[in-house]
């Protein structure tokens, strides 16, 4: 079999290929469900109900999708420039730490300004955290995959230190958690009596922004050019260093905002279980979306649905909810392979 590049990628193929890949992932996980001794159809029905079966389920899924949109965008933007930012988890915590520092009384602003302010400081913190590995990459050619990964551990341990030490809320009865964000900084609920909050609106807005930025702006164009062929981009006069740094600030910033979104939208105070690996899952979200910012919205909702659905399923029929992780990982790999067939046309020799 030979692969030849396609001159034009039909639009439907861009959509159909990942859907087919996801279908295969479901088929693989059906085997695991069978192994677990549960009926496959019922299990998947339970999953679907848990994800979308009621107003509560839908709002829960969307609540979970909001941070995934942010971390998915963070990965999508970075991967477009071939900047392998695997540090979304650390950047998420950095954003939450910054928001905690400024939002727990240090600064008080009216709500209309306080929320954007918290997103801003979170974004700056996330962006700055990614700047270090990126500068090491540009100046010393230190591989950013490993440095961003390792920084995740460092940041989380630092948060751990703060929450057990200087930032520990004395009113929390011994639990390791920080003081709550002030009232003005809390993201307002969207649906009465549900957890869904306006962080989703922020996430959607930034997805549209990121799409427009990549698609229509000059800097976005440069990010794509550098990502595809840095030598040609440099020869054409596109500043590589500046482009990569801009990408880093944007990507780290988006991941940082995921932390703010979770912090100010749900509990309102920082704990160590703020993120169940949203930073890592964001990579799968981005790949599922083919690195397309608008696609990230759909794939984040999809993955959030899988996680929420799997939680419901595991309560109903004793299948571990780690099945959601398996499903996501399988889908990630299969979608990656499907991309090959979108870009190239397989031809029998």
């Amino acid at each position: 079999m030979r692969l030849e590049p396609r001159a034009h990628v039909p639009f439907w193929l861009n959509i159909a290929a990942p859907i087919a890949a996801v279908g295969l992932a479901f088929a693989f996980c059906a085997l695991l469900i069978v192994w677990a001794g549960a009926p496959v159809l019922e299990a998947y029905q339970a999953l679907l109900r848990g994800a979308f079966g009621s107003v509560f389920a839908v709002t829960e899924t969307l609540t979970r999708a909001a941070p995934l949109i942010f971390t998915g965008l963070a990965a999508a933007v970075a991967f477009r420039a071939k900047l392998w930012n695997i540090g979304g988890e650390g950047q998420l915590y950095a954003g939450a730490l910054a928001a905690t520092y400024f939002g727990t009384g240090l600064v008080t602003l009216p709500p209309l300004i306080m929320v954007p302010f918290l997103f801003l400081v979170g974004a700056i913190a996330g962006g700055l955290l990614l700047l270090l590995p990126v500068i090491l990459k540009l100046k010393l050619r230190v591989d950013e995959v490993v440095t961003t990964l390792l920084l995740n551990f460092v940041v989380i341990l630092f948060a751990n230190y703060l929450l057990f030490g200087p930032w520990k809320d004395p009113l929390a009865m011994g639990w390791p958690q920080a003081a709550p964000i002030i009232e003005e900084g809390i993201l307002s609920p969207l649906v009465p009596r549900m957890r869904l909050h306006s962080g989703l609106i922020w996430a959607l807005a930034f997805a549209i922004f990121a799409w427009g930025f990549i698609r229509f702006s000059r800097w976005g164009f440069q990010i794509r050019a550098v990502g595809h062929n840095p030598e040609a981009a440099a020869f054409a006069g596109i500043p590589i260093g500046a482009t990569v740094l801009r990408t880093a600030l944007l990507s780290g910033g988006l991941a940082g905002m995921a932390g703010v979104c979770e912090l100010a939208g749900l509990k309102g105070y920082l704990t160590l279980d703020l993120s169940p690996g949203f930073g890592y899952t964001g990579i799968a979200v981005a790949m599922l979306a083919g690195l397309h910012p608008l696609g990230v919205i759909a794939s984040a909702i999809f993955i959030a649905a899988i996680y929420n659905g799997a939680d419901a399923m595991s309560r109903a029929m004793s299948i571990s909810n780690y099945l959601a992780d398996v499903l996501t990982a399988t889908a990630l790999l299969l979608v990656l392979a499907s991309v090959l067939f979108v870009r190239f046309r397989p031809r029998l020799r």
Binding site: A7, S217, G237
Partner: protein, 526 residues
Amino acid sequence: MSDVDEAAPESAGAQSVLRLNGVTKRFGALTANDAVSLDLRSGEILALLGENGAGKTTLMSILFGHYVADEGSIEAFGRLLPPGKPKAAIAAGIGMVHQHFTLGENLSVLDNIVLGTEPLWAPRQQRAKARARVVELAEHFGLAVDPHRLVRDLSVGERQRVEILKALYRGARVLILDEPTAVLAPKEIETLFATLKTMVAEGLSIIFISHKLNEVMAIADRVAVLRQGKLVAELPVAGASKQSLAQAMVGRPVAPPVRHPLPPGEVVMQLAGLMLHGEAGQPLLEDLHLLLYGREILGIAGVSGNGQGALAALISGLRLPDGGSFDLLGAPVKQTSPLAMQRRGVGRIPEDRHAIGVVGDLSVEENLILEASGDPRFCTLGLLRGGVIRRHARALIERFDIRGADPTTTTRALSGGNMQKVILARVLSEKPRVILANQPTRGLDVGAAAKVQQLLFEACAEGAGIILISEDLEELLQISDRIAVLYRGHLSNPVPVEEASLTELGLLMSGHGEFEAYREGAGHAA
């Protein structure tokens, strides 16, 4: 062709060592090799002559088992060679020296040579024995190279010797050399030719692939000419003339692009006493003097690796000189970047269009604005103006006759010639005053090359001065106004093309001749 065979000299008595029978290979619609039949006799050097894209490399890749032919068969020493098996080709005594060396840079010469000669699962390498054999072979054929050095520390000529040793070490009786002189300095070419003569004297047979007539005449016993995949001539060199070979290679006499000679304009670029050093401090360009006038094409001849890359990097805005002066349109260049050079009216056509000319995964319209994405025409307030860019692309595709492309086509899918036209469209539409054209026709077929030359002429007529770097002397003689030769970082005094002789240029390219720096005005025959 059979009559030619009978007319072959004494070597006709020698037996055939390699025989290709009707080899055909198609890539999609393109027929790269069309029923090619060829004989190689014991103890001869057979030149395989042909233009870029004539199918020489494809044919040899089939012979060596990298590709599988659609039709036809290959016999080596009377035995049928199984298709698609490099190992079988090696076992049959065929050795190949690729144009792009297949060496591991961080490994030693010895490691590179012995790779694959021992059973993979052997518990231990026989290093001492291997080294002795390599040293012996190297001495015998005059291929001096230290087996313990790392390949990354070797010169290009030394690397080629390693490649030849690799083949000899495997007991090759037939050696295929793909464009072996392209990367060599004249001195090294002499050494290589001496080695090849020793080999055939020992009874080895050699296929020498080239598109350079002079070399073919100098080294080969017989020559086979490929054109558009077909074998069009096969004759002894002794009875061939350069004209007839050239005619066979190109086919019809190609209509040279129309050129109306124009009076030169004023000086657009001036280099004086220019110095440029490499990373290790070695000189790349030394005391270089050059005046470029508007409306002229200044051809830079020379074997690659003699400073062409450095000169191109300088004019492209990738390097600043370490000494001397560099003036563009009468103003000195103090700081540089690709962008700065574009702004000052320099258009740059890079050497390698796939690697640095275009971003293959972006669309044609995006590649057309790659250099101008910040230009107010295409960008306001940081946003790209999609409508303008689309219209711009449509206009350029039409004007530059870029085939098989609309604005949203992925550039990767274009043919080499059309990809080059995208680059030319991007550069020439900006009406540059100075154009650097680095090997602009390399690897293009005759038609596409003529189109590229035509476009350069048009830019020239509009007032641009063009620096044309090429390894192809015949192209340079055909389209330049003046020609200078780069040799080890020195530039010879440019001479008007009508006064230039092949012999003289050849001498200059091999370092014989005057390399005194010429001074302002001296080189231009007014």
